[in-house]
Each structure stands twice: as structure tokens, then as C-alpha cells.
Amino acid sequence: MASHTPAVVMDNGTGYSKLGFAGNDSPSFVFPTAIATKSAGGGAGGSGSGRPAVANKPSFLTGGAGPGGHLSGKRGTEDLDFFIGDEALSAAGGPGYGIHYPIRHGQIDDWDLMERFWSNSIFKYLRVEPEDHHFLLTEPPLNPPENRENTAEIMFESFNCAGLYIAVQAVLALAASWTSSKVQDRSLTGTVIDSGAGVTHVIPVAEGYVIGSSIKSVPIAGRDITNFVQSLLRDRGEPDSSLQTAERIKEEYCYVSPDIVKEFSRFDRESDDRFKKHKVTYPNGKSVEVDVGYERFLAPEIFFNPEIYSSDFLTPLPTIVDTVIQTSPIDVRRGLYKNIVLSGGSTLYKDFGRRLQRDIRHLVDARIKASEAKSGGAKSGGLDVQVITHKRQRHGPWFGGSLLGQTPEFRSYCHTKAEYDEIGPSIVRRFALLGGPGST
């Protein structure tokens, strides 16, 4: 059946869902993981999430007058009255619909909504018959196996999909870095720095397996940078300091500087080509100009000097990365230092990788020097620190999935519907490692 059809790759994140077909270099659809449902219109048991109205008490408690009593009135199709993605955001602006986010902190929170979200993604946007395609889904590191089982239940029982593979986002991000020219061996060992809208994770991966105990997260990510830019604009009293403007400025003008003090003086010396003007055009045709100044390099600087933005989180990102690697098993540390991979929208600033590499190298060199001095005469062979920047960073996990999903052996790694029927949901607790040792 599913002989030539490309695999479907779905990366459902907290903020955005990336959907597409394996083999392409960018996802076909990227939209918010949001679903707008009809708010319960005074139904007896209807909850706010637009779930079907079921009487509060089971029927044996209400003397048989439970939900069975009014089943005949249920010929409607209210459960199909919903929107996902950008349509959901615009529908929620109007009356009658409420918006919900089925994924919280990377993990699926509301399975009812997620099932419907998937159904609409598959049938309306991707337009595929799930029985003909294999699916590659992603999950965050440390996802409980129960969530995997729930996912498998939905994918196999509702959609009868031909085959399913669930991969960890960090591992896929490592696979995506294979496109970079700096990567010589396609190993799945490395440290992934995944920075999206909400939170930044530093995840060590050894031979395709996440070292769960060493994962660290940093509460600074894209949204904080936007807020920081906005506050700088407000302080200066710019004519437009809305969140959208701050976001545009962040995306268009920001970069990482090697040294802020020097950068400040450079701005003062060559002010003409360093300071920019950003033009904001309103829907009504008017436009204003906003000055863009020091925030160009100050905003991404909060990763390296968090004290300029937050007062309770003060550890710079390079130190965190170093700690993560130092707490990992000693035999993989060399590989982790050598292959630090960036992923997610907030790592796209120019020279972000270079600065990170330099700072981590400083930390490592200082430590080596100290231990050399202590040992009294021993010489270290040195340690290679390398941060990998590549073109597919923005949708890293999705692209990694697309890369692995198009390989001929991908199908043999999937669990099929027949296997699921034989063994049950627990089958998805284990997957053979895709792209790991032994595969081409």
C-alpha cells in the first residue's frame, strides 16, 4: 500500500507546529499549535474545552436517564466545528470561539484537542490518507512513556496510520546538523542547544540517547529577548514600542557582538552605519520611524550576560553548557564538546555560534590550565570545542525528521499497525535508533 508515498513529518511544539513531507527542505506548513472550539453553549455537561456534553453522573447513578437518554438528539456535528492554526487565532477573535493550546511545555496536555488538531492537520492541510503514509512524530526529551502510548493509540486507532516513529527532538536536531560542512562524521553524539519562544534547553545526547540527568534549561528565550527590546524602546520613548515592532526589530537587526564594551564605543565612533531606522507602517497607511540603536547587540547579549535583563537568573549560557557537559559521563564529554549544535529560532542571530564557541573554549582552557598547574608538570592534549551553525537551524528538528524520514530504511524502523495490533500500545516504548550506528 504505502510503497512510494513520502513519510509525513509532524513536529508539534509548544508554540508552532511544523508539518510536511519527508524529503523536502522546509516544512509545508508552519502554524501555531492552537485550536479554537465553540465555547459550550449552556449544554448540560459541556465543558469549556468544547468536549462532548456527557452528563455529570454516570447513568447508573441517575437511574438510567444519563447520556443515553438524549443520544437521539445528537445527530449534529458540533465536534467538527473547530479551527486550527492561524485560522484558530482569527476565529478566536470573533464571538463564539475560545482558543486552546493543547501542548504545554512541549508535552501534550489535552488529548481530546490534540486528536482533533491532528485530524485537521492531516485531512485539511496535508491532505493525505493516513492509511497510505508512515508518520514521524517528535517528542520532547524526558517525555513520559505514557504520553508515547497515548500518541500511538490515537495514531493507530483513530487514523490507522501505516507506520509510526516517534523521535526525540534533540536527536533530530543533531541529525539536521549533518548538512553543515563542519560535520564530518554523522554521529548522534553532541550537545543540543534548543532555544524556542518559551524556554532554552541544553540537552546532551550520546549515541542517539538523551542523557536525561544532565539536561538543564535556561528561562531565557525568544520571548524574553522581545520583551527586552520592547523595554529598551519604551525607555527611549520611541513612537512605536509595541510587541510586534520589538519582534520585527529583534528579527531584522539583532546580532551578537564579541565584546559589548568595544561594541558600545564602535557605535559611538561609526554611528552612521551602526544606528538604523525601522519603518513601521500601520494598516491605515500611516507610518512612523523607530530608531534602532544599542539593542541590536544588547538584546541577544542576555544569553551571555543575563544580569542586564533578569535579576533572579544570572548564569550565562556558556557556563550552563559547560556544566551540562561536565555532569555527563566522562567518556562522552569529548564528543559533546566537539559537537555543540544549535536549534530553534532564537539561535539565529549572527555570530551567536562563534561567541558561544569562544566563551566555552575560554572556560575549558582555564580549567585545563588550572589542572595542569595542580598536577605539576603534566601536559594536556587539549580539548576541541566546536559549535555548529547550519542553515536549517530554525526548523532543526523538523528538518532532521525529513532527512531521516526519506532514507530507505526508515520504514523498517517504524512500528506498523499490524505490530501494534499484536502487542498493544506498549510497543512504542522502544524504537530502534534511527540513523544510529549500523544504519547508513
Binding site: 523536502n24 462532548p52 493516513p130 483513530s158
Partner: protein
């Protein structure tokens, strides 16, 4: 979402985006559509020339039923030689678009309906044949008609999936469209039966001018002499028959009817899946309710064994 869209959303959004005059970018995407259709959207020569190619499993059958003419009518000047590995290609030059917004929208709509238009040819041909036959039949009374007019034309078979096919047959007073459909899943088969029963009932209950729908597990009489029909009558294959009457076949209804009936199989399977999702959400809800009842049933303050510091236990004398 009750009905499935006829157009491919990706092509539509991609073209809309490009036509608005953003900076030209490279596009290279291979995407699927229902029924094993594959699209390839690319910019092979320059960034301003978008090539959309389609690969349909049963294209040679469609050509046999006049697909080329239909596609030429729809796409005219945009047609280019088919890309290697694909059946049909159209190319749009961003520097040479229709000037007005309406023309652009129309072009986007037409290209995103590529699959629908390719599949429409046998339907159009059958509908034309119906008009011819009905004209011819009006010359005779029911007894004197020669056999050919009575029985109608040939059966057009479109094997659009590996194991499933659409058969279209025109007669002088109706056009019959038959779907052979296969269910891989026991559960799906049962859901399917309920749905099809609803289709049959809908006509009886309220909507009198809907086309007649029949469902059976053995091949209907119309398909008796068609090669490759599975005659086993086992439960796996079902035959769904739509009988379109002259009122469905008028010129102004035609396009809509073709679009609708094409998406039938996907529509059908989509709704089976959506119902399962609905039932699952009710099951989850009910489980949560039961758990709540169980929690309520737990005694509020359980009598715990109390211990003294030295580890001895004692019981309160009643």
C-alpha cells in the same frame, strides 16, 4: 470542517504568497494529496517561474477519457511539457501574471484545483454522453428503443487507488457512479456501514432530491462484465452506487457535482476517523468521571495506626 476542500491548500497558499509580490525565493517541494497523487512544486529555471507538476496513478486512464482536453481548456497557455516522472505540468511566470487581482485569484484557484480537474474528465465525458443518449432516447418510446440506447454507454473505470476504483456509466435517464471501497480495519467497516445507512436514510427522511445511494458487498449488475472485479462477495470490499438524475446533471450544477463526488471516498474516510476521535473523547471523559466517583468513595480520614516514639502501638479503648 464538514466537507473537505477540493483544492490543495499548500499550492493555494504558496501561490497566493508568491503572487503578492514578495521577494522571489527558491521553491522545491514534493507533496502528496489524497489518492496517491503527488505534486512537485519547484522553480527549476529562475526564481520567478513556478512549475507545478502532478503525478496521478491512473493518468493513462484519464487521458483515455479525455483528460488532456479538459486540462487544456482549464490551463491553456500555462501548460508546459510534463516534467520527468510526472504526468502533467503547468508553469506560471511571476513576471507575466494577469494584471488584476481577480485574474490572479482565478489563476490560483485553477492551479490549486489541478487534481480535481485531472480527475474530472471521465465525469464530464459521461455527463456529455448522458445528454446525447437522452436526446436520442427521446426519439423512441420505451418499447421501440434499440438495445444500445436502453442500456447506455460503456462503463468508464478509473483505478485511482491500488485496490479501489470508480466506475461511471451513463444511460439515457441517469448517470451511475460506483465506488468500490475496501476497509482494512474491522472497526472501520462497522463505522462505514452505519454511515452508508445514514446516506440511504437521508434520502428517505428529508432530502428528496439527493442522489440515490445504494450499498452492497457484491458487485452490482452494472459491473457484471468488467474484468478485474472481485466476485467473492466477502465483507472487505463494498460497492457504493450513486445514481445521478437529470436534475443533477444540468450545466450549472455540473462542476459542483463533479467536485463533490470526487472527494467522496476521502470524505467518507475522514468522517469515519472523526467519529472515532469523537468517541475517544467521550471515552476519556467518561473515564475521568469514573475516577472522580472512585475518589469520592474513599473514606475521608482513614484510621491510621498510631505509634509511640518507642515504636509501640496502642488502640483507643471504646
Amino acid at each position: 470542517m464538514l466537507l473537505l476542500d477540493y483544492q490543495n491548500v499548500l499550492i493555494e497558499s504558496l501561490l497566493t504568497d508568491r503572487f503578492q509580490g514578495g521577494p522571489p525565493v527558491n521553491i522545491d517541494q514534493v507533496v502528496s494529496d489524497f489518492d496517491g497523487v503527488t505534486f512537485h512544486i519547484s522553480t527549476p529555471e529562475t526564481k520567478t517561474k513556478i512549475l507545478v507538476s502532478i503525478n496521478v496513478k491512473c493518468f493513462h486512464e484519464l487521458v483515455q477519457y479525455g483528460a488532456q482536453a479538459v486540462l487544456e481548456r482549464e490551463y491553456g497557455q500555462y501548460i508546459v511539457a510534463p516534467e520527468n516522472g510526472y504526468d502533467f505540468s503547468v508553469q506560471v511566470d511571476l513576471e507575466n501574471l494577469p494584471a488584476d487581482q481577480e485574474g490572479k485569484d482565478d489563476l490560483i484557484r485553477r492551479i490549486s484545483l489541478l487534481k480535481r480537474n485531472a480527475m474530472a474528465a471521465p465525469f464530464e465525458q459521461a455527463f456529455d454522453e448522458f445528454h446525447e443518449l437522452s436526446e436520442e432516447a427521446s426519439k423512441y418510446t420505451s418499447e421501440s428503443a434499440p438495445a444500445g440506447v436502453q442500456e447506455g454507454g460503456e462503463v468508464r473505470a478509473i483505478h485511482y487507488r491500488e485496490e479501489e476504483a470508480i466506475y461511471i456509466k451513463a444511460s439515457h435517464d441517469r448517470v451511475t457512479v460506483l465506488f468500490s471501497t475496501i476497509f482494512r480495519e474491522e472497526t472501520d467497516r462497522i463505522f462505514g456501514k452505519v454511515f452508508l445507512q445514514e446516506f440511504v436514510d437521508a434520502r428517505r427522511r428529508a432530502i428528496q432530491n439527493a442522489p440515490q445511494v445504494l450499498f452492497r458487498n457484491d458487485p452490482p449488475l452494472e459491473l457484471q462484465n468488467i474484468p478485474g472485479i472481485n466476485n467473492s462477495g466477502s465483507g472487505e470490499i463494498g460497492y457504493i452506487t450513486f445514481v445521478l438524475f437529470p436534475r443533477h446533471l444540468t450545466k450549472q450544477r455540473r462542476a459542483e457535482v463533479i467536485s463533490h463526488i470526487q472527494t467522496f471516498r476521502d470524505y467518507f474516510h475522514y468522517h469515519i476517523k472523526a467519529s472515532k476521535a469523537y468517541i475517544h473523547s467521550r471515552m476519556r471523559r467518561r473515564t475521568a468521571d469514573f475516577l472522580q466517583v472512585l475518589r469520592r468513595a474513599r473514606p475521608e480520614n482513614e484510621e491510621k495506626e498510631r505509634k509511640t516514639a518507642s515504636g509501640r502501638t496502642f488502640r483507643v479503648q471504646s
